[in-house]
């Protein structure tokens, strides 16, 4: 099915159009709008973006595959990102990750079968002073302990 923006997002897009020097410059903002609506970037979404911005679908695909924040597959309702860069790693990031994998019954990169949670790893999220840490949707959880991780995941599963 061809993809289309909701009328409200369409208005946002039209307004963005006036703010950028070229249509191509809107590739990322428009992809973000689409992902917000659709949850991930499907082939249809790429075609839609290409058409609206006079770009080739191949160009859009290049952008989508470059940025890890664009989901190339359907994802869960919530996103859990465990930072695994050096400072976090030294402070037990892999324990946090394994605990999550065990508790959710999935590996990093996968989504729970009820479609509730996607678990991923991230490069440094710039909160090293409070390592280990993880990001849940748009929120940071820092100075993690096994108890806190349990608690966070339990609340997520219930939400």
């Amino acid at each position: 099915m061809p993809f289309a923006l909701t009328p409200e997002r369409e208005r946002t897009f039209q307004e963005l159009l006036t703010r950028y020097p070229t249509k191509m410059a809107l590739t990322i903002p428009l992809l973000q709008l689409c992902q917000e609506q659709h949850g991930w970037i499907s082939e249809e979404v790429m075609l839609f973006v290409a058409e609206r911005l006079d770009l080739s679908a191949a160009h859009v695909k290049g952008v989508v595959t470059f940025y890890t924040l664009f989901n190339q597959h359907p994802v869960g309702k919530h996103q859990v990102w465990v930072c695994k860069t050096l400072p976090c790693a030294l402070r037990g990031a892999y324990d946090v990750l394994h605990q999550c994998e065990k508790k959710l019954g999935i590996k990093a990169g996968e989504t729970t079968s009820n479609g509730q949670i996607t678990l991923r790893t991230a490069e440094c999220l710039a909160s090293c002073a409070t390592a280990p840490m993880m990001q849940v949707d748009k929120e940071y959880f820092e100075d993690l302990t096994p108890e806190r991780v349990d608690e966070i995941l339990r609340r997520l599963q219930e939400s």
């Binding site: 080739s56 160009h59 695909k61 595959t65 890890t68």
Partner: protein, 903 residues
């Protein structure tokens, strides 16, 4: 400019201001390794191998992207730098197939690996599975296991070709380079120019022909490289052909070529297989009792000479016609023109310029006095606006087209006048999608709009032109509204286009056959010349009126005197007669000669008895094929010089003389910007074939005129051309050894002329505005024939496909396509790929439908490359009133689905 003083590795050196450190090191023979650099591209600095140290700069910098500065002290090979390079090479080559290094030792990447003693494949598992190469494309072999992600292919496809095929996906170690969104190369939007192959430093992208040789022999490089000029269109690109075992195995762009600047299109790059096509004819033949019989050269020349002599003796010299070839060299065309005048004694000599740009030469000749492009291709980069009239340059003159496309992408305003939505039209600021056959009203309305809005260059009009007031009065009826009605475009667009063209000084006009192949062809060209004068765009860099000539040497052939009313240098007969008679030592006939079209008329009427047809398939390419057949069938004799058994020879020929291709002989071609460039023998002549000039000399001598045709070689012929054409007297072969020269170039120290008419015209200081009347085409759509058919070429095929038809280009695109608008197609139940039959009141042909919005409703566009389809069965009898150039672009037809039959 004063050179800069710098220090390299502790030693003083000089550098050219504005160059990069890498350019400087290369010039001094101190090149550092570099893999992502190509001088045709902006630096990207992704391989980091070229890093050098500069005293006082804390970190290493990339030589390829850093400009030199006075006083710089550089270090290029410190142990730290060399260690760094070795590490980078190990990272690049860890997963790289080691056998590739051995197989193709000369690839830049492999040379660097060897120089640093780095073994490829160190990180590969013993049981790694090799990636499967993409072998779908007939010319380009893709093996991405050899990709080192230098992105040269991505960049060259964008900035040289403008095609945007190669794309980068993913990031980090997962990065891959793929065509489009990851299709095979054949299915992708690739146009097969081969630029990516030419730049790839590893062989990930390789010419399929070389990939094949490499496997068999473990060595890939040809034995010799020969620099020559492309045998296809009038752009005049230069190529280096690689020869191995006397075969052309590869053709690569010449980096410092003045026109093509290191680029080629699919025809020049890959279209050389015709040289050794199985159907090539390499022994002379004579038709006896209806069948072709192979004979000796002597017998063949005797038969040809007897046939011509018989006609001369019994019905007079004017019962013989000679057709020079736009595929032949200047030297050969000059001899063809001389043969007609001196040996036969007639002015009945013409060439295929008659059916293409005759109106451009005539129109510009009438207005300015020189029947050639006023400016040069380099003006494309100098101009501030581009006006394209009836030309589809990205397909028909791809290297020029690419340069125009790059300018449009960079924001230079582009106006396209074309009934079809071509690639350039899709990029246009204003696309005037006019009805076929309405160029004159449109161009007149542009002029009127310029005058009415006072955008005229009054200074130029006052000092360099005459007849302005009469011209202005003659435009009275051509309001944008009136023209818009006739042309089927909006009046507002006409005004916009007029404003852009008139205000962006300089503005450059280029035209193609869409302007000339009409009954108002010459008028159209003059209307365009009027526009250029009105806006002061004549005699200035970045301006002018520039016909994009169709064939490699069509500019040259007419210019060499294959024109009934003109002698060498497009000089009028009475003006140049004395000089020619002096040099030739023979009289020049004065009776008016016949054009190709009137020769056919005369043949049909029984007045023309014999024809010498050099490298030109008249039957296939002339309009109204039934009439052509009647004319050619009426001849007593037809002597054909060609590479292949053309349709004309097959049906009507009596003697066949096999010629050499441009890769087998020496000579010169003249491109569309008046540049004379060398072609060179790269392989031995095939079989017993002879060059056209040798054949003409043999014929002349058999006919008793040998003393006028005694030449040592092609260069001697050229030197005679210089004697009869003072304007080009300064162009000697030694001078054009490395780069061609543009005439006028009257003396040995003259640099050649990029821009004509800067201070005066051959017709005087002032040129006259031309008043034009519009007479619509007789071909109008009707209930019976509701469509207007337009004909033309595509990227992958060339004219009668004599050459491209013998290459693998056929695998890239069909040669019998007929474009139809989706609305019309669905109404008539025609789907993409269906066989269709097209019929006019003159005849009928079949083709394969392409459903596309490139054409407007009610219009069709057909390519004319397919011999069997014979599009010219349907084209009509209309001719330009001035030059007799046929009206190929407008024929009323009907179209229907045809039951599938032959393939």
């Amino acid at each position: 400019m004063m050179p800069l003083k710098i220090t390299i590795n502790g030693t003083g050196a000089e550098a050219v201001p504005g160059s990069t450190i890498l350019d400087t090191l290369k010039a001094l023979g101190l090149e550092v390794p570099n893999l992502c650099h190509d001088k045709r591209l902006e630096p990207a600095s992704v391989c980091r191998l070229c890093e050098v140290l500069i005293d006082g700069v804390g970190r290493p910098v990339c030589a390829c992207s850093t400009p030199v500065q006075a006083g710089m002290s550089l270090w290029t090979t410190t142990p730290a730098l060399e260690g760094f390079r070795r590490t980078m090479l190990m990272l690049l080559s860890g997963n790289y197939p080691p056998e590739a290094v051995e197989q193709h030792p000369d690839k830049p990447f492999h040379r660097v690996l060897r120089a640093y003693g780095v073994a490829a494949g160190s990180a590969l598992d013993a049981d790694h599975s090799p990636t499967v190469p993409d072998t779908t494309h007939p010319y380009i072999h893709v093996d991405m296991s050899r990709c080192i992600r230098c992105y040269r292919c991505v960049r060259i496809c964008e900035t040289l070709q403008g095609q945007f095929v190669w794309k980068i996906q993913n990031r980090g170690t997962a990065t891959v380079v793929v065509p489009d969104s990851g299709s095979t190369l054949l299915e992708s939007s690739c146009v097969s120019c081969g630029a990516c192959v030419d730049t790839c430093p590893t062989g990930a992208l390789e010419d399929a022909a070389l990939a094949a040789i490499g496997k068999a022999s473990r060595a890939i490089e040809p034995d010799v490289w020969v620099r020559t000029t492309c045998p296809y269109c009038g752009t005049g690109c230069e190529m280096n052909v690689g020869v191995r075992d006397d075969k052309v195995v590869v053709s690569r762009p010449v980096l410092d070529a003045p026109v093509s600047k290191g680029h080629l299109c699919v025809k020049g790059r890959y279209g050389t297989a015709f040289i050794d096509a199985a159907e090539r004819i390499t022994s002379p033949m004579v038709r006896r009792k209806g069948t072709w019989v192979t004979v000796s050269w002597d017998d063949a020349i005797t038969a040809a000479a007897e046939a011509l002599t018989k006609a001369i003796k019994t019905t007079g010299p004017d019962s013989v016609g000679v057709l020079g070839s736009s595929r032949a060299t200047n030297e050969e065309s000059y001899l063809a023109a001389k043969f007609a005048r001196v040996v036969v004694g007639t002015n009945n000599v013409d060439c295929c310029a008659r059916v293409c740009h005759g109106p451009s030469a005539a129109g510009l000749g009438i207005v300015f006095g020189t029947g050639a492009a006023t400016n040069s291709f380099d003006d494309i980069e100098r101009t501030h606006a581009i006006l394209l009239v009836g030309t589809n340059p990205t397909e028909n003159h791809p290297i020029v087209g690419n340069r125009i496309r790059q300018r449009a992408l960079a924001g230079v305003p582009l106006i396209v006048v074309d009934p079809r939505r071509t690639e350039v039209a899709r990029l246009a600021t204003v696309h005037l999608m006019l009805r076929p056959g309405t160029n004159v009203p449109l161009l007149c309305a542009l002029a009127k709009s310029i005058i009415d809005n006072d955008l005229v260059d009054h200074a130029f009009v006052a000092s360099r032109t005459t007849d302005f007031n009469a011209y202005k009065a003659s435009l009275a009826q051509w309001t944008p509204e009136h023209a818009a009605n006739i042309c089927g475009v909006s009046a507002e667009d006409i005004r916009r286009a007029a404003r852009i063209y008139a205000t962006a000084r300089p503005a450059m006009a280029l035209n193609g056959l869409g302007l000339t192949e009409h009954i108002q062809g010459t008028d159209g060209v003059m209307a365009l010349a009027n526009l250029a004068m009105l806006t002061g765009n004549v005699g200035v860099p970045g301006g002018g009126v520039n016909p994009l000539r169709g064939q490699n040497n069509v500019q040259g052939t007419a210019n060499m005197g294959c024109e009934p009313a003109r002698l060498t240098g497009y000089q009028k007969i009475n003006a140049a007669k004395t000089l020619h008679e002096q040099v030739w030592g023979a009289p020049v006939p004065t009776s008016p000669g016949l054009t190709l079209m009137t020769m056919l008329d005369a043949a049909a009427a029984g007045q023309l008895k014999s024809m010498l047809m050099i490298g030109y398939d008249v039957y296939l390419s002339s309009p109204n094929a039934h009439a052509t057949a009647k004319a050619l069938g009426n001849l007593d004799s037809l002597v054909v010089c060609d590479l292949f058994m053309t349709a004309s020879a097959q049906c009507f020929g009596t003697v066949f003389l096999p010629v050499q291709s441009s890769f087998e002989k020496d000579g010169t071609f003249m491109n569309a910007e008046r540049r004379i460039q060398r072609i060179r023998r790269a392989v031995r002549p095939r079989g017993s074939s002879k060059s056209d000039w040798e054949i003409l000399c043999l014929l002349a001598s058999k006919m008793g005129a040998g003393r006028h045709f005694a030449y040592q070689d092609a260069e001697a012929i050229w030197n005679e051309v210089r004697a009869v054409w003072p304007v080009a007297a300064g162009i000697s072969w030694p001078r054009i050894e490395n780069a061609g020269l543009q005439w006028p170039c009257p003396t040995d120290d003259h640099p050649g002329t990029e821009v004509l008419h800067s201070s005066s015209f051959p017709v005087g200081v002032r040129a006259a505005f031309q008043r034009l009347e519009f007479h619509p085409s007789g071909e109008q759509s009707s209930a019976e024939f509701p469509f207007i058919l337009n004909t033309g070429r595509t990227l992958f095929h060339f004219n009668a496909a004599t050459m491209t038809g013998r290459t693998r280009n056929a695998e890239l695109e069909r040669d019998d396509l007929v474009q139809i608008h989706p609305g019309d197609a669905s109404r008539l139940g025609i789907r993409d790929g269906d066989q269709v039959s097209i019929e006019s009141r003159h005849g009928q042909f079949r083709g394969t439908a392409t459903v596309t919005d490139t054409v407007r409703k009610g219009e069709l566009f057909s390519v004319f490359h397919n011999v069997a389809a014979l599009v010219n069965n349907a084209t009509g009898t209309g001719r330009d009133s001035n030059t007799h150039t046929p009206e190929y672009k407008v024929t009323a037809v009907r179209i229907a689905r045809a039951p599938a039959q032959r393939t």
